[in-house]
Structures are given as C-alpha cells and as structure tokens.
C-alpha cells in the first residue's frame, strides 16, 4: 500500500473545469418542473384568445366541463388583482378579465386527470367576443384617436412610458462637428426559445400553505406576485425553483402557469401541474422589443464623437412586463464605452395588441448599440480613419463619470479592442479580403446589476447564509436562481477559495424562498457581483473564527494560519488548516471553532454602494460596475444568393476577474450565438391581424451548429475594486456588440450598409441591387 503524495488544494479561482452541479446536468438526473409528479396531481391547459383586441361577451363552458376526466377550471374574474414585477406598471392578470389584448392571451384554464383531456376540454370551450380595433403598429400606438389598450393607464394613450434626457449641449456639439451623420434603424423583435417550456406545479400543504415549483429566473418576484394575486400572506407561500432549462430573460416574469396552478391547487385541493406547450412559449414571449430608431452623431475631423442625438420607439405588446425599465435601458447605456459630452435621447415604450415583450438578454441596450456602432463605422469611413483606432480613441477612462452620471470604476475596453484587433488581423486584413468576405468590429458595455432595486427598499439585494457544521460540511444557502449560467458554481468557488476546499466540497442550496435568504433574481447581470459579494461577506467572519481557534490550539500567530494545506488523501478528512510546522484537519478545525465560539453559521448581505448622481432623475442605469466587450466578425456574403455566413468571431470581454474559465467562456460564447441568431435569422413576426407567424422551433429560424461561427474568446481581467475577488458580469454584455460587428463586416465584404436585422438574403440582395443601380450604399 502506498501513501499518495499530499498536494495542496488548487485555488479554484480562474481554473477551467466542471461545475459543481455538472454531473446532474450530463446524466439526465436534474429534475425540472415537468419531471416532478405528486400524488393526485392533475394537469391544466389554457383556452387562448382568438382575437387581438376584443371584449369578452360570454364564455360557454358547459360542454367542456361535461367531458369525463375534467376536474375543475378557472376564469379571469376569479383572479382580478393585477400584477407585474415593476410596481408602477402592474397591468397583467393571469387570465383575461373582461377583455383580451392579443391573440393567444389565456382566457380560461381547465384542469383534468391527464393533459390530453384538459386539451380536449379547452377545445370544447366557446368564447363570444366583441371586437375592438386592434393596435398593431408603432404608428397606431402613437395615434391618440385610436382605442386605448389599457383603459386604466394613467394617460389616455398607448404610450406606457416616454423618457427624455439631455446631457451637455448637443446642438453645440453638432455645430463643432466636422462630419454629421444621421440614419433610421429598425431592430426586429425576437424571442428566447429556452428549450424548457415555462412550467409550474402547485400543492396546498395540510396546514393550508402553498408550495409552488416554478421554472423561473426570479423566485423572489414570482413569490411576491403569486401571494399578491391569491390574496395570501407572502410568508404562506413557498416558491421553489428546481432545475431550470435556461431563461435568457424569458423567465423573469410571473406567468399564467404559476398563478393558475396555484389558484387551481387551492380551489381543487389537489396538486396541479401546468407545462406550456411550445407554441404557448412563443406567446408567453417577453422577448426583444421591435424598435424603430433615429440616430444622429457628430464627429470631429480626428474622429472624436462631439454629439449624439437618439430617438427610439419600442413596440412592447399588450402588457408592460419590464417595459418601463426598457424605456430607460434604450437610452442610458448609449454613452458607454465611449467618453461622450453631449448626449440626448427620447425613448417610448408602447402598448400594441401582440404578445408582451420583455427582458431578453441585453435588455433594451442591444438595439441602440447596433445603431451607434454602425453609424460609427460609417463615420470612420467618411473621415478615412481606422474604425478600431477611432473607437479606441473615444474610450472612457477608468475611475471616471459618464455625461449622464454613471460612475465608472474598472475599465478594460482598450485591452479588449487590442486583443481582438491583433488576433483577427483586423488592421492588415480589413478591406483586403476581396469581394464577398469582410471584417467588422464593434464594442459595447453593460451593467453588473442595478444600483436601485425594482421595488423601493433599503434592504440588501443579495443575502447568502453559510452553515459549517461538525461533519465538516459547508452549506451555502442563497435565494439565487441558477438557470444554467453557473451561479451555483460561482458561489461554491468563492467559498471554497476562502476555506481552502474544493468547490465540490461545498453544497449550494438555492432558489427556495422558505429555505434560502432573499436574492432579487437572475436579471440585469447582477448575480456574480451581488450574490458573490454576499457570499464573501458571509464566509469571511467564519474563516476568521476558524483561524482564531486553530491559532489558539497550535499556539501560533493567527496571521500564520493558512487554509487548503495538503492533507493525506487516505485520511478522508480533506485539506488541512495550520502553519508550515503544524496543522489540523479541516474537520478538527471546524470542531475547534465551534467549541471556542459557538455555531458556525453566518449571513452576509450585499447592498450596492450609495452613489450620488449629478442628475436627480437618474435612477435606472447606474450600476456598481460595468463590463466591456470588443468583437471582430469575419463574414462571407454570397452576392448571387444574398446569403451571409458568419465564419468566425473574435470576442474579448472584460469580466473583471475569471472565477471559472469554462463558465466565463461559455457565457460569452452563448452571447455571441444569440447575437448571430438576431443578426442572421431570428425574428418574432406577426400576420397583419396580429396572429403570430412562426410559433415553432422549425419555423422560427434559429442557428443550428451549421450556422454558428467559430468563436475565439479572450477573457480580459480589469480587477474591479468592488467585484467579488474583482469579478464582473459575463453572461449578457457580450451580446451587445455581435450584431453591429456582423453588420460592419457585411459592409467590408459587399459595400452595403444594412440598417435592419436580421440580414436575410432578401435584405442583402435588395441592398446589393440598390448599390448596383447607383443608389446610396
């Protein structure tokens, strides 16, 4: 028998490798809501509106309810209390009350012993409608003479929110410009297509309390809204987020499935499960807002941006969702990553009779970034400047403030630009690849969570609790929602790093409102920054208590005590704690600490810093930190067919610090993929009457492996002073610059500017045709 050589525990931070919950994901063992079954469980389905905008005259249920196996139903009048995550825009009900606002809106929910019977019952329901003129375009939504979709909205119109902000002196900036360019852009709507459908399973416990399993990104907000609609105290609802088959922003809202499963479970006294069908996921939507934009920019002869003027109209669909936030995000991030002095924007978020838009990855910031980065390249061409160098010269400095009052700390944008320019050979190769092949560059920046919470309060945005007990087990309790992005591994990695353990030694229990402390949710790229900091705040005092106990035992200076010292594998008590001359096992260290100072349980709460702004109304946009991205796309344009192929993307992202390289790369690659989809093919389209055109994975064109580019990732580390170990976000920001990089590459390849994604063969051919006839490029 040989004794293995002791090896110190490698620091997990920055390493490349498996997530702590990887095994359950590769084995099919992870349980999603649709995999959960309870005794006496029934299944519910929805009757959905066939009208875009209509009053409900009467609902005929008799035939449906007479079908054997149907056990219950509910209609909108039973759940009249309006909800929504944004307190100032609570305009939704789970089932239509009195009136329908889009084709596909849920009207009735029917529960039966099996899904097929529930489906047949839904088909037997007849709803009488009285049509109202449907509002289906931006023009119609802006016309005050048209009917109002939400009568109770404060303003007699279909404008949910208009935001206007003005910084510096825009007119003076244009007056001093050597070149002024303006253009109209149309950015399409698109949707997330998470492969797991939205699903909910609700059970009433013997004591009358409700347990709801939901496929959600935001357990906390869904918890609050379900309690609100059902008239229950928050404390009587337990929301559990099991494994979730991704969200990308599409599972940020409470859905009809959550509320109707909960209501029917109470009404019927038995568990109710609802799994949306694929077509219903397209109707649940909350995807990218189709956005019409006008952008005007001024430039000095040297390429400095002297002024930016921007207007946007976002077609938001029938309900607000996060639309108030969208109206701000359309404008507030425009300055970054550049140093602008003169900037103004006016944005509108409109109601129309279509499925509601919401927060898709890169929420609200994707559309304006496309417009600005394309116009910037056009200006570089006009001025005879290198587009990469021109961007670099305009970049914001570290530890500065933008014209609209955003405090900027760590900045890695120059390093990002340098990395992709060098790797792609951009400077030497651009313009020289011959007709049909081209390179394009774009840059972007994004937030690491919002400084201000969605509902006003002064409490921590993330709380993490850690329990270490005499077994040696470390348990992290967090209200976060890992939906595949790797937040469980992030928490385990940070805690393991502080305690000298392997991440796999840390058990993470998350997303259960009765078990885990509050975290606001997986949106706005906030989790690594906020929950990560909370985890460090929770573990650090525990670490100090273990240090004190071990130092006392060993009779040494606490400063000499280190964690993760090599232990013998065959002893089974893990790495050791101590000094170069003497140490104790991890488990003994835990015993000593608990004996000396009591239970090893501690919670840490992260509250963003109070950062004043020069601008009183700047409440949406400020973040504790910003991430930065640069990317270069190489495309091939077939001038015969109009087909665009994105062959390769070089992307450099300033994520502050890499916590797990495989996870960070995967997030960046996923962003690029979604960007390529929006650039080439993805669009949520409607027939003129408001019927969704392509509610299936086959018809809604999305990239397979064949259309997806080779992606080369550079993780740039700017070491944010306030991020957990210096980390910032990586899962959302990188998508912002993908579409404009591709648009700029198409110009390099074919000499045409495209102002409306997706860059389909029809649009490319039309542009090539216009160029051939001598029109503007």
């Amino acid at each position: 028998m040989s004794v293995r050589q002791p090896t110190p525990v490698p620091d997990p931070i920055g390493s490349y490798g498996a997530k702590i919950d990887g095994r359950e994901r590769i084995s099919g063992a992870a349980l999603f809501v649709a995999d959960l079954k309870l005794p006496r469980m029934v299944h519910a389905k929805f009757v959905r509106s066939t009208r875009a905008h209509a009053r409900i005259v009467r609902i005929h249920l008799d035939a449906a309810l007479a079908i054997p196996g149907v056990v219950g139903h509910c209609v909108g009048e039973e759940l009249p209390r309006r909800y929504g995550v944004i307190p100032v825009a609570q305009d939704e009900t789970a089932l239509a009350v009195g009136k329908v606002r889009y084709i596909g809106e849920p009207v009735v929910c029917i529960a039966a012993l099996d899904p097929e019977t529930a489906h047949r019952a839904c088909e037997a329901v007849r709803v009488e409608y009285e049509d109202i003129e449907a509002i289906l375009t931006i023009e119609a939504a802006l016309d005050p003479a048209r009917p109002t979709i939400h009568e109770y909205a404060r303003k007699p119109s279909n404008i949910l929110r208009r935001v206007h902000q003005n910084y510096g002196n825009v007119d003076a900036g244009f007056a001093e410009a050597a070149v002024v360019l303006e253009e109209n852009f149309d950015y399409p709507g698109s949707t997330h297509v998470a492969l797991e459908s939205h699903a909910a399973l609700a059970r009433v416990e013997p004591d009358g309390k409700l347990t709801l399993w939901s496929s959600t990104q935001n357990p906390h907000y869904v918890h609050r809204d379900v309690a609100r609609v059902l008239g229950l105290r928050d404390q009587d609802v337990r929301l559990i987020k099991p494994a979730v088959g991704a969200g990308y922003g599409g599972k940020c809202d409470p859905f009809c499935s959550d509320i109707c499963a909960s209501h029917l479970a109470r009404k019927l006294g038995r568990p109710v499960r609802i799994v949306l069908e694929r077509e219903e996921v397209f109707l649940a939507h909350r995807g990218r807002h189709p956005t019409r934009m006008w952008l005007k920019m001024g430039f000095s002869a040297e390429g400095r941006i002297t002024a930016v003027d921007f207007k946007a109209w976002a077609d938001g669909g029938a309900y607000a969702s996060y639309g108030v936030v969208t109206s701000y995000y359309l404008g507030v991030f425009m300055p970054l990553p550049y140093q602008l002095e003169n900037y103004r924007f006016e944005s509108h978020r409109l109601y129309t009779n279509k499925p509601p838009c919401g927060p898709k990855r890169g929420h609200g910031a994707i559309q304006p970034r496309f417009a600005l980065e394309v116009l910037l390249d056009r200006a570089a061409g006009r001025l005879g400047l290198d587009p990469a160098a021109m961007r670099r010269d305009n970049c914001v400095e570290a530890n500065s403030e933008t014209c609209n009052g955003l405090r900027v700390t760590s900045v890695g944008i120059q390093a990002c630009i340098d990395a992709v320019v060098q790797a792609s050979g951009y400077t030497e190769r651009r313009g020289k690849l011959g007709p049909g092949r081209g390179l394009g560059i774009a840059t972007s920046a994004y937030m690491c969570g919002a400084l201000h919470p969605i509902y006003q309060n002064e409490m921590p945005h993330s709380t993490v609790q850690i329990k270490i007990d005499r077994s040696g087990e470390v348990v992290v309790y967090s209200g976060t929602a890992d939906v595949g992005q790797g937040s469980n591994h992030m928490l385990a990695g940070l805690v393991a790093h502080r305690l000298g353990l392997h991440p796999a030694d840390i058990r993470v229990l998350e997303g259960d409102t009765s078990l885990t402390p509050v975290d606001l949710g997986s949106y706005s790229s906030r989790v690594t920054f906020m929950a990560g900091n909370a985890a460090l705040l929770a573990v650090n005092p525990l670490r100090e208590r273990i240090v004190a106990a071990v130092a006392e035992k060993l009779g040494c200076d606490p400063a000499e005590v280190s964690f993760g010292r090599p232990g013998h594998a065959d002893r089974g008590d893990g790495p050791r704690v101590g000094t170069d001359t003497s140490d104790v096992s991890w488990v003994d260290a835990v015993w000593l600490a608990e004996e000396k100072s009591g239970p090893l349980v501690n919670a840490g709460g992260y509250t963003p810093p109070k950062i004043g702004s020069r601008f009183r109304r700047q409440s949406v946009g400020p973040s504790p930190a910003y991430s930065f991205t640069a990317q270069v796309a190489e495309v091939v344009v077939d001038e015969e067919t109009g087909m665009v192929a994105v062959e390769r993307i070089w992307v450099a992202h300033d994520c502050g610090r890499v916590l797990n390289l495989a996870v960070v790369e995967g997030q960046i690659e996923g962003c690029v993929y979604m960007g390529v989809g929006e650039a080439l093919c993805e669009e949520q389209r409607y027939l003129p009457g408001g019927l969704i055109r392509a509610p299936s994975i086959l018809e809604y064109k999305l990239p397979t492996v064949h259309e997806s580019p080779e992606v080369t990732v550079f993780a740039i580390e700017s070491h944010d002073p306030e991020g957990p170990l210096g980390a910032k976000e990586a899962g959302e920001g990188p998508q912002l610059s993908t579409v404009p990089a591709i648009a700029n590459a198409i110009f390099d390849a074919s000499g045409v500017w495209l102002h409306q994604p997706p860059f389909t063969p029809e649009r490319v051919l039309r542009a090539l045709d216009a160029r051939a006839r001598g029109g503007p490029p």
Binding site: I26, S27, A246, E665
Partner: protein, 160 residues
C-alpha cells in the same frame, strides 16, 4: 379507453412493460409510464432533438415516435449511458468543458454522439457537425459541445 395495448420492450438493457393508449408516444411512455424523465420534451414535433433516444442503436426522436412501434425493440436512453455509475467518456467531456449549461438539451446531444462514435469512431469534423445538426442548444453556441465531442472522441480512441 378501448384502444389500449400492453407493450413489452427492452429499455437500457432491462425488460419493461406498460399498458398504454395506442396513441402514446415513445417520449410519453419513457417519461410518464416508465419514470425515465432524463429524456426531455422540447417541442413535441421533432424540431429540437431534446428527446433523442436510440432504438435498436439508431437515433430516434421520441416525441414523434409511436410507442407501439417500439414493441419488442431495444431502447437506450440517457439513464443507461453511464457505465458502472461512472459517466461515459462523452458525459465526462461535457462535464469538464461545461458543455451542459442548463442541461436541458444535453441528454439528446449525448445520445446523438453516443450513436455517432459507436458507428463512426473516426468521425471527422464534417460528420460530427452533420450529426449535431439534429440537436438544438440555446446556451452554448455549440462551441463547448464541439470541444467536448472532440475531446471525448480522442479519449475513446486512446483510453488513459
């Protein structure tokens, strides 16, 4: 229900039997009747590949396969891939490269690759991409999936 039948088949090497309506799909049979929820429901119409299983060694989309057609056949699912409780080379490579982010599509990808590398251990890049073209992933951009597949193929050729 008069249109019910008793099905006998072999699932992951073990005999299985179920009383099912004639319209039962293989996906429903696996998930609802046999409790094998590792095979996922993505689209119900054969567009996404999440429900890929092997029937007599060949990839089939369980959501558009009638269960009754599989009477007497051998069906392999994600639950049967691990060897002696240890992940297969493909699974281990997916784990190492974090090719499973949310993991919802992963069982389908693993089954597609299990078939490919059994039939074609020397599959080249074109064959690999051709095979993976039948599965949709929305998380990874396929970058880590391709890396895991190449890595697994190398490990299967030269076991450590």
């Amino acid at each position: 229900m008069s249109n019910e039948l008793v099905l006998h088949l072999v699932v992951n090497g073990e005999p299985a039997r179920a009383l099912v309506p004639a319209s039962r799909t293989l996906l429903e049979l696996l998930r609802e009747d046999l409790g094998l929820t590792g095979t996922k429901h993505g689209c119900d119409v054969g567009d996404c590949g999440a429900c890929t299983v092997l029937v007599n060694g060949l990839p089939r989309l369980a959501c558009i396969t009638v269960a009754a057609d599989c009477a007497g056949e051998h069906v392999d699912t994600i639950e049967g891939v691990a060897v002696g409780g240890q992940p297969s080379a493909i699974q281990a490579a997916f784990d190492h490269h974090v090719a499973a982010q949310c993991g919802y599509c992963t069982p389908g990808f693993v089954m597609t690759l299990t078939h490919l590398f059994t039939e074609e251990p020397e599959a080249d890049e074109a064959s690999l991409r051709h095979a993976l073209g039948s599965n949709i992933c929305r998380c990874t951009g396929y970058v880590k999936i391709l890396a895991a597949a190449r890595d697994a193929q190398a490990r299967m050729r030269n076991p450590a």
